[in-house]
Amino acid sequence: MIGFLIRRIGQALIVLVIVTIIVLALVHLFPGGPVKALLGPRATPQQLAYYTQLYGFDKPFYEQYIKWVGQMLQGNLGYSDKLNQSVTSLIGQDLPKTIVLVLLGTIVSLLLGIPLGVYQAVRRYSIGDYVLTGISFLGYATPTFFFGLLLVDWFAVRTHIFPPFAPNSSSVLTILGDPRALVLPVVAYAFLLFALWSRYMRSSVMDNLVQDYVRTARAKGASERQVIWGHVFRNSLVSIVTLLGLSLPTLVAGAIFIEVVFNYPGMGLAFYNAAEQVDYQVLLGFTVLATAATVVGNLLADIGYAMLDPRVRY
């Protein structure tokens, strides 16, 4: 297991180095260069020259890279002039809110998707299975922003049951203090994921139900409940664990469309705004963080997979 871990961590570090080099190189490919992107069309040649020097873009690429990585290792992810805020503080401000949204949405979707997936597998080809399959396909096929807008229209504009937006605060406590305002974004996010979990769970349980160990368990007199929840369920979770690991970047990068539709001030929205305004410092910081989250997510998924299925370690 230790050898497996060392191999995987080594691979992860190499990926991080390669991605950071590519990301910094991409900044240089902004039309007109990063300083023109920052200052806009009104910048005079003198201002462009001044800021090029100020931000070190006149230095060789390797020097810029070393300086940037050095700053990141000290926790300095850059400074957004457009927001007048350090990227680290922006992340500190927005990440907890995104985590709240994504975690709540994931938990709700898991609580619904996993049992219903098991139900569908056990009662496959029943009316209930068909209905739930239809709902899942609807979840797959409906664009998130569209579903979000429908929720806003139905439950905020027409009936006033829920507010259309989460509180627009820099504090996660304020957002948690108004749970009604969280309902619509969480439901919109959960609906998207519910379809995913239930389909995977259904498929995984169906695969496991025909395995030899299930036949053995039944032959030894295990009840159907014991077979499903004692044997099949754990093995079927392997695919869900993998998917959960892979969804870790979402926890960091945010659910862009949900956050935009519901005016939810999280990471996804900040990234979207930065892309619109070519705020390259935020883009760099967020991309590195999302990359790290993806690498760590994959790593955790591999470890979880290895724990659930020891054959993977070798």
């Binding site: 920052l38 009104r42 002039d81 503080s89 807008l149 806003v152 627009n168």
Partner: protein, 628 residues
């Protein structure tokens, strides 16, 4: 400020279809919304008795954040919103511009200084302060302006409005000639109009409480106010570094002892880095009128769709209605006959004080010679169907533009040439005229494309066989602008002008917009991605930034000695006729091809009276009040 047509692309790209569907749904059920009805009189403003107090919730435009508090703002931090809708509420510039209406002129009653007095043939300017007070009890006086001017001298590169040769370079000396009087000596005679509107307009008195280099230091101890070039402005540099560092502590803006010293009608009561800003009346404001409402809460939005939902659910008192949600109307009336956000709101137009245009590249190695011919530019202008574009693509919320001066609102600056032909100017839309103009100059259609047949008539540098075919890079992401570009291509084709449209992101085109020297790399033909707003730091719509030879924003490298002379004349001749001459010449010479100007509609809650959106983006909430 530069202006672009970009609106929130999410609303355009991702939500377009859904929003349309949603709009249908909302329209069908709008009677149940707090907006209370889909069809109401859009101009019914609040009319009840005036009452004091109440919080106004103002929806900022999508993606706008009021992010920087220090009026000595760098180009990296500046935006019209940050300066005109945030800083100016707290820190009055030396001269305020605009009013709670459609004025774009200097507003002396709202300024801390009286009208400047020009003498010595325009070489000396005397500024007298009115004795206003800062919130800490200091007087807004001569020292505060000297402090600003010294900072400008010391930190030119860090002030967004600085341009070499202009203020403070053109001020040879300045001094306090009295406790409340500053006298500037200029390096030559300047136009009183231009110097007031485009130079003095950049100055903002700063309190002595800011002339410090550490928190809690004694007011004025920083020494910038008494600093000079002798020590290379070391004291001012130290003060600037301190203040710039304080300005980066955005989370503490509302509690900062530095930024809490104001002379404007408003002060911060809360600020968070997410963009939520709340201001309350400053009890020490010396000017008039004093605020009536008890708080102004500015709320950020992510997209047009989100802001529209906030209006429909009655969550905000003032916000812009997304253009896609406005009903079609005739161009002859300013407001629609039906109110899309319901009877709880009345509507008011917002004419952003600026212009839109296409920029030809006069340095293009193959096509520059063609663009240099005035008759070609005239033909290209005559192919812009401004009335048709306004009706078809902006649904009536647009008006023609035909020169360097915005025609709305009406102002002293608009030359008669720009009002000709219902605002289309000297060269109104006419495919036939454009075609005739080209054929009379040696061009004729070959395979549907105008081709130079008689080089002597076509003009200098144009060879026989040269086709009138060029590429136009236009900014994608906004359907109405895309439709306008397609319409231009179609109309141009009828005159034998072949326009190849190349859609690129706004930021990509901005990257290409730097003026280029003649040569193979200077290969773009036309850029079509935005325009120019005269909403600060200059307020007289002169042409030094756009049309003067070699200016930084003259992306197409337009160069004309007469234009340069006339622009220079606007700087030195105080007569309005000097400006009119320049504006008329620019309108006729077409350094750029003028295109349709759009405007916006704001919704204001019926409970709130006296709200108007000023074309300079400036807010005057001290004039607003709730009604019973």
């Amino acid at each position: 400020m530069f202006r672009n047509r970009r609106r929130t692309r999410f609303a355009r790209v991702a939500v377009a279809g859904a929003a349309a569907l949603l709009a249908v749904g909302i329209a069908a059920c709008s009677s149940s919304s707090s907006g209370g009805g889909s069809s109401s009189s859009p101009t019914t403003a609040a009319s009840g008795a005036k009452t004091t107090g109440g919080t106004v919730t103002f929806g900022l435009k999508p993606q706008v954040t009021l992010s920087y508090i220090f009026p000595f703002t760098s180009i990296a931090n500046v935006s019209s919103y940050t300066v005109n809708q945030f800083q100016w509420l707290m820190y009055r510039p030396l001269y305020m511009f605009g009013n709670n209406g459609q004025s774009i002129t200097v507003n002396y009653p709202l300024s801390p200084a009286s009208a400047p007095v020009y003498s010595d043939g325009g070489k000396t300017v005397t500024i007298n302060f009115k004795g206003w007070k800062w919130s800490n009890g200091e007087t807004v006086d001569a020292n505060d302006l000297i402090f600003w001017l010294n900072m400008m001298k010391a930190q030119k590169a860090n002030y967004y409005g600085y341009a070499p040769g202009l203020a403070p370079d053109n001020i040879t000396s300045y001094s306090a000639t009295g406790p409340e009087q500053v006298t500037l000596h200029l390096n030559q005679s300047y136009s009183a109009l231009w110097f007031t509107y485009n130079q003095l307009a950049e100055f903002t008195p700063m309190p002595m409480a800011w002339d410090v280099s550490s928190v809690g230091a004694k007011a004025g101890s920083g020494g910038c106010t008494t600093d000079s070039a002798a020590d290379k402005w070391a004291k001012c540099t130290a003060v600037y570094n301190f203040l710039a560092a304080q300005a980066k502590l955005a989370a503490s803006y509302a509690s900062s002892p530095i930024w809490g010293v104001t002379d404007g009608p408003w002060k911060l009561s809360s600020y968070n880095t997410n963009g939520n800003v709340t201001m309350v009346p400053s009890p020490t404001y010396s000017g008039s009128p004093k605020p009536t409402i008890s708080a102004l809460k500015m709320v950020p939005f992510t997209s047009d769709a989100a802001e529209y939902t906030a209006l429909k659910t009655g969550q905000i008192d003032i916000a812009q209605i997304p253009p896609e949600d406005l009903p079609t109307k005739p161009e002859s009336v300013a407001l629609p006959t039906t109110n899309p956000v319901g009877s709880s709101y009345y509507l008011t137009p917002f004419y952003s004080y600026g212009i839109y245009y296409m920029q030809p590249n006069f340095n293009n190695p193959t096509f520059g010679a063609v663009f240099k011919q005035l008759y070609v530019r005239q033909a290209l202008q005559e192919l812009v169907d401004q009335q048709g574009d306004g009706t078809a693509f902006w649904h009536g919320y647009a008006y023609p533009e035909s020169g360097p001066v915005p025609t709305k609102p009406a102002s002293q600056w608009v030359p008669a040439a720009e009002t000709e032909n219902n605002g289309e100017g000297p060269y109104p839309f006419s495919v036939a005229n454009a075609k005739a103009l080209l054929t009379s100059h040696g061009w004729s259609e070959v395979n549907g494309v105008m081709t130079c047949q008689t080089p002597a008539k076509c003009g200098t540098g144009i060879k026989q066989g040269q086709q009138l075919a060029f590429s136009a890079y236009y900014a994608t992401g906004q359907q109405d602008a895309t439709d306008q570009a397609q319409n231009y291509k179609s109309d141009a084709a009828q005159a034998g002008v072949k326009v190849t449209l190349i859609g690129q992101s706004f930021n990509t085109i901005v990257g290409e917009s730097t003026p280029c020297a003649p040569g193979p790399k200077c290969n773009w033909d036309v850029l079509w991605y935005g325009g120019w707003g005269y909403n600060g730091p200059g307020f007289e719509p002169t042409g030094e930034s756009l049309f003067a030879t070699g200016s930084g924003s003259n992306s197409g490298s337009y160069s004309d000695p007469t234009m340069d002379k006339l622009i220079n004349e606007t700087h030195t001749n105080s007569s309005l006729s000097a400006f009119t001459q320049y504006a008329t010449y620019a309108s006729e010479q077409l350094p750029y091809i003028w295109t349709t100007n759009e405007y916006s509609i704001y919704a204001v809650t019926n409970k709130l009276a006296n709200v108007q959106m000023n074309p300079l983006y400036t807010l005057f909430p001290e004039y607003w009040y709730f009604t019973k």
